[in-house]
Amino acid sequence: MLRFALQRLVSLTISLIVASMVIFFVIEVIPGDPAAYMLGMNAQPETIAALRRDLGLDQALFTRYLGWIGGMLTGDFGTSYTYRVPVSELVLARMGVSLPLTVYALVLSTLIAFPVGLIAAARRGSGLDAGIMGATQLGIAVPNFWFAMLLVLFFSITLQWFSAGGFPGWDRGFWVNIKALTLPAVALALPQASILARVMRSAVIETLGQDYIRTARAKGLSARQTVVRHALRNALIPVLTIIGLQFSFLLAGGIIIENVFFLPGLGRLIFQAITQRDLIVVESVVMLLVFAVILVTFLVDLAYAAADPRLRRRA
């Protein structure tokens, strides 16, 4: 197990180094000078030059890359050009929205998908199964931003139960924020739950056809016990893969939902930073997301190994 983990760790580090170079140099090549953007159309050339000096943009590209990497290793992500506050502060504040939203959506999606997928598998071929399959098909097909707008139309404008968006901030108490994240989380969770439920169903159906299930039934276990003790555990591998992918997708991909609900999350931060050429923020946030995705993949690999002892030995 340890050797397996170490091997994964080495490949993780190499991925990070390559990613950092790609991110930095690709982003720096994009046309558009941050200082000129900030000062607008009436700025005089020497004013722009003064601001470039202020921001350290007059240094050579490679020097800045080393400075950036060196800073990140010591936890210093630099200072945002436009906001003039440390990038780490910005990211931390935005994480306070994106991370809870992701976890909330993932919990909802798992809570819906597991029982639904299991029931569909257990009642395979029944009317209930057909109904579930149809509903999940619809759930995948409906774009989540459109579903989000429907939620807003119904729950915010007509019923006025929820506000149409925004995020009060954690210092205003726990539940007001959970409430503010509820509609976005539901909108994010619906398509994810649909995918997960279908994966769950087919994984369980596949394991139910295995010999060891027949053996388990033959030795006297009830249908329910068979499913829970044997089929479920073996069906978990593909399901875990999907959950891992979904976590990364939700964390980085919540941007459209964040726009619909005007939530101050990571996606909106990147979007804003790109248009304002706040390059250092873009680079650092993208790097962090890459790190998060690689880390989650690593953890999922470890989780496979935990769920399936054969994988440990093979590595």
């Binding site: 953007y37 607008g40 202020d54 003039r84 807003v152 304002q276 706040d278």
Partner: protein, 490 residues
């Protein structure tokens, strides 16, 4: 019994109604979040939309109609020759951190703005200043190198607000000014909160708290207005829904004008476009009303020169470039440019992207083909504005009174006319109002008759607000949401 209960309830209702306090908080929607809150170190309109003149104030200040009024200076004297301005500051003005406003703060602010290392986005406002001296704690003397007709106007800009040396370094994130509202907090990405400044020198504002919230998505803005999360959205991003708000008694739709002259800019270094006949042909090919209807949902005023129609000195010169495809084709034939292809670069705003498609089809109608390239703002600034690498572009010039840009030969459209430069130079030194009007008229006529660019329309300001709010600025003489006069009527 029942009767008595009813009576009791009625009495209770009568007592309760006046006791119900009027709302004293407002939440204002903005499309873009300000990058920071220091208007002296960035050009973003959003900085002014939050801070002007709520947090910071200048020596003079703009009124809702664009007039220049006394601000921190209650009065001023101008020397005979127009080169010395003596400002008399108000007594008892305090910054939000408790430090008193003195002449030294004014000297500091103006010197900082024109310093060599200054990062002021409108440094040209201070270009005429020679010296700034504090005569006594409440008197500042500003000497100009030459008379400048627009000096008091310049001092009213958001870029010229007075700051204290104690707080200037942190104003980007923790703004400290002298205004009627003081900064409470900024939840980045979500909102900026202000509260009434209890030590304000002037009349206390009716509002106790104000929150600016940032919503860029048009449908989200619509939902937030409808759900009551936002009380006022002065620059509403979904003009297609304005009719719906107009029909709803809960809301009022506020349509005003801005200082944004929207033009089809032409690069005078382009061989074809340096020919006045080609420029005139393009101007006649354009149907302004089609662009206003098609791109702006009908909001906008056609212009025939680079001047705001709500300004008393405005001349309606739209007839110079009336829609006339026949004349356009004839002019192109005469100039020998029947097979012209031009590059049209479009920045992100709707007026440019949608307007650009309409312009392209109108040009095609007279035989000019266009290659459209969509650019982000940063790219547009670098390639079109600084690099001058374009043939045509559509852009709204939002600075007030900016007809002088046509006198800068190195400005991105590279129009070089000695005659206009002479008019603007004379204007700059003229302080007599009548003479200024005459010069402004001459300048407007000159650029209109020389077809310097295609003059399209004045950008409208379209906002939505709760019907019970009054005192919001209808027009936008400068980007601002001055809340000092805003109140709830019930």
């Amino acid at each position: 019994m029942l009767g008595r209960l009813k009576l009791g309830l009625a009495v209770l209702a009568m007592v309760a109604t006046p006791a119900l306090a009027q709302r004293a908080d407002i939440s204002v929607g903005l499309v873009l979040e300000p990058p920071n809150l220091d208007p002296t170190s960035g050009a973003a309109a959003a900085i002014r939309e939050v801070t002007y003149s709520n947090i910071y104030e200048g020596l003079t200040r703009f009124g809702p109609d664009g007039s220049v009024n006394p601000g921190l200076a209650h009065d001023w004297d101008i020397s005979e020759d127009g080169t010395v301005y003596t400002f008399h500051l108000r007594e008892g003005v305090q910054f939000h951190d408790g430090t008193p406003l003195t002449a030294d703060d004014v000297v500091f602010t103006l010197d900082r703005a024109r310093d060599e290392d200054s990062t002021n986005a409108q440094k040209q406002l201070f270009a005429a200043i020679d010296t700034v001296t504090a005569v006594d704690p409440l008197t500042v003397e500003v000497t100009l190198t030459q008379p400048q007709g627009a000096f008091l106007f310049n001092m009213a800009w958001g870029d010229a607000v007075i700051m204290s040396p104690e707080s200037v370094e942190t104003n980007a994130t923790n703004p400290v000014g002298t205004g009627a509202f003081r900064f409470v907090r900024w939840v980045q990405g979500d909102r900026v909160e202000l509260e009434r400044n209890p030590d304000y020198w002037g009349e206390a504002p009716a509002l106790e708290r104000a929150t600016f919230r940032f919503i860029s998505d048009p449908s989200a803005a619509f939902a937030a207005m409808m759900a009551g999360d936002i009380d006022a959205f002065p620059n509403f991003p979904a003009p297609e829904t304005l009719a719906q708000f107009e029909a709803d008694p809960r809301f009022s739709v506020i349509v005003g004008s801005t200082e944004g002259e929207t033009i089809l800019s032409m690069n005078h270094q382009n061989e074809a476009l340096s020919d006045i006949r080609v420029r005139q042909a393009i101007s006649h090919a354009i149907n302004r009303q089609d662009i206003i209807d098609g791109a702006m949902f009908g909001y906008g005023t056609p212009i025939g020169t680079h001047f705001a129609p709500h300004n008393p000195d405005y001349l309606d010169l739209t007839d110079n470039s009336a829609h006339d495809p026949e004349a356009a084709r004839a002019l192109l034939a005469e100039a020998g440019h029947e097979n012209l292809t031009l590059r049209l670069m479009l920045p992100p705003p709707t007026y440019a992207r949608r307007g650009g498609e309409i312009v392209a089809s109108q040009l095609r109608d007279v035989g000019i083909r266009t290659e459209i390239t969509n650019l982000e703002w940063a790219q547009w600034l670098e390639q079109v504005f600084r690099g001058k690498d374009f043939d045509l572009t559509i852009i709204s010039h939002t600075e007030p009174m900016d007809i002088e840009i046509y006198s800068r030969p190195d400005y991105y459209f590279q129009y070089d006319s000695a005659e206009l430069q002479a008019i603007i130079a004379e204007l700059d030194e003229t302080t007599d109002p009548e003479a200024r009007t005459e010069l402004l008229h001459r300048a407007q006529r000159h650029i209109s008759e020389d077809y310097v660019v295609g003059f399209l329309f004045q950008l409208a300001k379209t906002g939505v607000a709760n019907a019970d709010i009054e005192g919001l600025w209808e027009n936008a003489p400068v980007p601002a949401n001055d809340l000092t006069g805003v109140r709830w009527t019930q």
